[in-house]
Amino acid sequence: MNTADQYLKAIYLVQLAEDGPAATGTLADALDVSPASVNEMIGKLEERELVEHEKYKGATLTEAGIERAREVLQTYCIIERFLCNVLEVEDFRGEAKALEAVIDDTVAERLDTIIDRRPECPDCFDAEDDACAFLQEPGTAD
């Protein structure tokens, strides 16, 4: 997952939470980068027709942008589930964030053959909890 993908995922989640365009400041906070970096990347994503940007309002994903953002979010869910349920990593959220930049879609697809992911993924992703709403963490099973 490259940097552009991480931005698409962030815009998608902010749009869902705000029910509207993703403001530059909100994205900068979510990604822990400067507003200038956000503006630069938004410009690149606009050129690729993945995002539309309206001054003073923020960024909105195009249909192609939404499609890619959902794939990226699925890959993120696979990494989190793999870390949590297969490797039993306690800080799976933190490690998923560190690894999402270095795990390719094809690798995630292969890891997907050994994890249980819901058919509705990524709609069950809980942005506030930064994890799938159905993810069962080790030690929390009934």
């Binding site: 940097t3 490797l87 560190a98 270095v102 094809t106 690798v107 292969r110 053959t113």
Partner: protein, 166 residues
């Protein structure tokens, strides 16, 4: 993994090597599952070349796993037991089972290609990193490059077999 990403420390390196182990284990376990899933008639009808390919893939993955495990051990981390991944593969095999011999070949090709891409990116990420690791950098890279070369050969072997059958 994207080019330009760097491996930051021993912890992240060990985690990535663990993922490499799991990818090898998935290839190994799926190759065995493919063979077991065939009926006696299908096994009899299976081309010797395909049977050899599955056997070789399982053996090679087991060997790669052992080499990765030796590195993980040096980093004071734990590997992922094969039995655990074998059970996970078996549990989900029904949903991801290849339909016929062509699908089996495609699945093997996908497994080899994924492993090749993973090692290729991992090597680049280590080369780009200035971090000091708990394993000798030259030996680490030498091991990963040797495994990558074998994965590349594996991709070619499956592709050749697919072409012969086409």
């Amino acid at each position: 993994m994207s080019l330009g990403q760097r491996v930051a420390d021993d912890h992240q390196l060990a985690r990535l090597l663990q993922i490499g182990v799991v990818l090898e284990e998935v290839v190994e376990a799926r190759a065995a599952q493919h063979y077991r899933s065939l009926s006696d008639e299908e096994q009899a009808a299976m081309d010797d070349a395909l049977a050899d390919l599955l056997e070789h893939a399982a053996e090679e993955s087991a060997e790669h796993r052992e080499r990765l495990e030796a590195l993980i051990d040096e980093l004071d981390a734990e590997s992922v037991p094969f039995e655990e991944v074998e059970q996970l593969v078996a549990a989900k095999y029904g949903q991801t089972k290849p339909e016929d011999f062509d699908d089996i070949l495609y699945d093997q090709l996908h497994g080899e290609e994924t492993a090749y891409k993973f090692y290729d990116d991992l090597i680049a990420a280590i080369e780009d990193s200035d971090a000091e690791f708990g394993v000798d950098r030259d030996r680490l890279l030498e091991t990963l490059r040797a495994i990558r070369a074998e994965e590349e050969d594996g991709v070619q072997d499956v592709a050749d077999l697919m072409e012969e059958g086409a």
